[in-house]
């Protein structure tokens, strides 16, 4: 156990010291993100294969998406990435209020993102661009069958990303509560740092989802 002037730092029993514990936590989170990256890459690979086979049809289908609205959503998500990075930094420097503010801003931006995403889904549903669950498929471009494949990928990839955002938001809410309580500042800072990694990863996935679904076809 290591002692600091202010208080006793609690190290989990299996570790020798706090540094070892933090190294282990960071490495564990990074390995988890590797698994997440490979999970998404499987879906991206499938999209890439079909894009290669049906390039013209997929490009035409991609033009029907709300690319500017989703672009605005990208700005929102990138901003939330900045907010969480600043929150991590504030927590690390022991500034509790600033950290809490950063986390709450991140959560708020994440919720706005999901709301806009929900609006997008709704408008695609109304336009008849949801080719599953026995919905009528009203796409009037070329090769509607192959275009349906594109929309399936659109819903699967953005849905998978949204699911990860919801998990990330839940984690950030826990972090906000921990920061608000501030039992052990150094510990909270470490936890916020680990959680922030996950949120940054969700950011990265969105950059790739946005580029491959909305922009590549334009």
């Amino acid at each position: 156990m290591t002692r600091t002037p202010e208080h006793t730092v609690i190290v989990a029993h299996q570790f020798e010291n706090l540094e070892q514990q933090f190294d282990a936590d960071l490495l564990g989170m990074w390995l988890f993100l590797v698994t997440e990256a490979l999970l998404f890459s499987g879906a991206f690979l499938a999209l890439a294969v079909y894009y290669h086979q049906y390039y013209d049809t997929f490009s035409a289908a991609a033009r029907e998406l709300h690319w500017l609205l989703a672009g605005a959503n990208s700005v929102i998500l990138l901003t939330s990435g900045l907010a969480v990075a600043l929150a991590e930094q504030a927590a690390d420097q022991g500034r509790r209020r600033a950290a809490l503010l950063g986390l709450l801003a991140t959560i708020a931006l994440g919720l706005v993102f999901l709301a806009i995403k929900g609006y997008e889904y709704h408008s695609e549903y109304q336009a008849g661009l949801m080719p599953f669950l026995q919905q009528p498929f009203a796409y009037d471009g070329p090769n509607p069958h192959n275009a349906a494949l594109f929309y399936n990928f659109y819903f699967v990839l953005t849905g998978l990303h949204a699911a990860h955002m919801i998990i990330g938001l839940a984690v950030l809410m826990v972090m906000a509560v921990l920061t608000w309580r501030w039992r052990d500042g150094a510990r909270v800072a470490r936890q916020v740092r680990i959680a922030g990694l996950y949120w940054a990863f969700v950011d990265i996935v969105w950059v790739l989802v946005y580029c491959s679904l909305y922009l590549v076809g334009r």
Partner: protein, 537 residues
């Protein structure tokens, strides 16, 4: 060695009597107790999968499909595959011996994330429940490979429940893998450098890397399968222009490396056992460590050899065939080094060594026939015949399960504090070896002669060899049931084991049997290399 050195007084306080009651087991964070949770659960699944295999072999005694309908037969071999692959072989050595031994071998009090370790067992159990639900709800007839579009558009079994079970159990492997990698990186005792680690630790490390890198691709593939089947979100659906071969690529990106998840830990076990019972330092330690890593790496580059007749491009087929041959190089290095370790050793044939020797022979045959089926032109003939069935059973049962049995006997005194009855264990080892060969060698010949796999009936010419195979299977059953009996017996009546009954090297043998709850009284300091058998006696 003198028989008496194997027995000793029972330590007063150890992990097994550190707590009593259900909660002390089901809420434990002790890696040694979690290993027990896994022991019990994977043994249950092993015998469930074995039951399916028994029915399969019973059906195949006669050429006509008289015992089971073709549909029931399809459901049985699918259940056998799913249970044995994901609920026994993949978790087998890592979650039990890996869990128990990794912290002891690196000189730590526990894994890096004990709570995560417990969680991964619960995740495993939830995945197992889904699979059992699938079995009870009528089973599935897709085979363990879930090939689309059959699994998504046509199969009428409980595909979703089975796929969910496999999806969930994948997270159990991922969590275990992350835990092991972090433990090896951050929790080694002072002085325990990478090249002082036992090869068992290297093998667990490489296996964990494969788990972490391969499993997520299976997860996303099953998600895509599930949304296609449940919501009609066509991804591989040919009527939308989807490509079933793409599913095969994604599936085998995981499932080929999964073979190495099964065999690498076995190689780790065999290195420990061979070195101990030859009482010699392992031959070519560094090359052994690097070949483990090389096998893990090459294992990712060869998945297309499962798809030679799938409609994959012929050029990709050639590339995958050539890459597949690469795997045989580090595998052969390992075989030669184990043999070199035995050379001029003082070899003793206790039961763990008998199982390890079985591994050497059977893995060699399985590996060499693997070169046959990795050959593009030859595989067109061999694909989907019993030759392939025999090949992978030689690797997975002859290799991985033999090594699991070797580990079970080798570390049984350490884990339980009791000695097992040596004579019965040798009987089991020899029965398993003989029964295994009688079961599966005829299948090579059947496959060579053209008997296809996955049919419940066959032409009469094949009956003799099928009867041999089924007879062997009954021997195999006896060989596997015996340990269940005498090991349980030894828990109560076996003599108390000393701390190091095999006169073996390694940190796990420096602590009492069974180990205390905290493993080491004070953190050990390592001053020499692994397998220092030449330092004394």
């Amino acid at each position: 060695m003198i028989r008496d050195a194997r027995t000793g007084p029972a330590p007063r306080h150890h992990y097994l009597n550190a707590g009593h009651g259900l909660a002390s087991w089901f809420l434990t964070k002790d890696h040694k107790r979690i290993a027990w949770l896994y022991f019990v659960s994977i043994t249950g699944f092993f015998f469930l999968g074995g039951l399916a295999a028994t029915l399969i072999r019973l059906e195949l005694i006669t050429p006509n499909g008289d015992l089971l309908s073709s549909d029931a037969y399809n459901r049985l071999f699918s259940l056998h595959g799913i249970v044995m692959v994901w609920f026994f072989l993949i978790p087998s050595i890592p979650t039990t011996f890996g869990n128990f031994l990794l912290p002891l071998m690196v000189g730590a009090r526990d894994l890096a994330f004990p709570r995560l370790n417990l969680l991964s067992w619960y995740v495993y159990i939830i995945g197992g429940l889904f699979t059992l639900i699938a079995a009870v709800a009528g089973g599935i007839d897709t085979g363990w490979t879930f090939y689309t579009p059959y699994s998504t558009l046509f199969a009428n079994g409980a595909v979703l429940a089975a796929a969910t079970g496999v999806f969930i159990v994948g997270f159990s492997s991922i969590l275990t893998g992350i835990n092991f990698i972090v433990t090896v990186h951050t929790m080694r005792a002072p002085g325990l450098t990478w090249f002082r680690l036992p090869l068992f630790v290297w093998a667990q490390y490489a296996t964990s890397l494969v788990m972490v890198l391969a499993t997520p691709v299976l997860s996303v593939t099953l998600v895509l399968l599930a949304v296609e089947r449940v919501f009609g979100v066509g991804i591989f659906d040919p009527s939308l222009g989807g490509d079933p071969v793409l599913f095969e690529h994604l599936f085998w990106f995981y499932s080929h490396p999964a073979v190495y998840i099964m065999i690498l830990p076995a190689m780790g076990v065999v290195s420990e056992v061979v070195s101990c019972f030859a009482h010699k330092r392992i031959f070519g330690y560094r090359v052994m460590a690097f070949s483990i890593l090389a096998i893990a790496l090459f294992g990712f580059l060869v998945w297309g050899h499962h798809m030679f007749v799938s409609g994959q491009s012929i050029y990709a087929g050639v590339a995958f065939s050539l890459l597949s041959f690469l795997v045989s190089v580090p595998s052969a290095i390992k075989i030669f080094n184990w043999l070199a370790t035995l050379y001029k050793g003082r070899v003793r044939f206790d039961a763990p060594m008998l199982f390890a020797m079985s591994f050497l022979g059977l893995f060699l045959i399985g590996g060499l026939t693997g070169v046959f089926v990795a050959t593009l032109a030859l595989d067109v003939q061999m694909h989907d015949t019993y030759f392939v069935v025999a090949h992978f059973h030689y690797i997975m049962v002859g290799g991985a399960v033999s090594a699991y049995m070797a580990a079970l006997h080798f570390w049984w005194p350490k884990i339980t504090g009791r000695l097992y009855p040596e004579m019965w264990a040798r009987v089991s080892a020899i029965t398993v070896f003989a029964g295994f060969n009688l079961t599966f060698f005829p299948q090579y010949i059947l496959g060579w002669a053209g008997m296809p796999r996955r049919y419940h009936a066959y032409v009469e010419d094949f009956q003799l060899l099928n009867v041999f195979s089924s007879a062997g299977a009954s021997m195999l059953a006896v060989g596997y049931l015996l340990p269940l009996i005498y090991l349980l017996w030894s828990l109560r009546y076996g003599a108390h084991a000393s701390a190091n009954p095999w006169n073996a090297r390694g940190l796990e043998w420096t602590v009492p049997s069974p180990p205390p709850e905290e493993n080491f009284e004070r953190p050990p300091r390592v001053e020499h290399e692994a397998y220092a058998y030449d330092t004394d006696a």
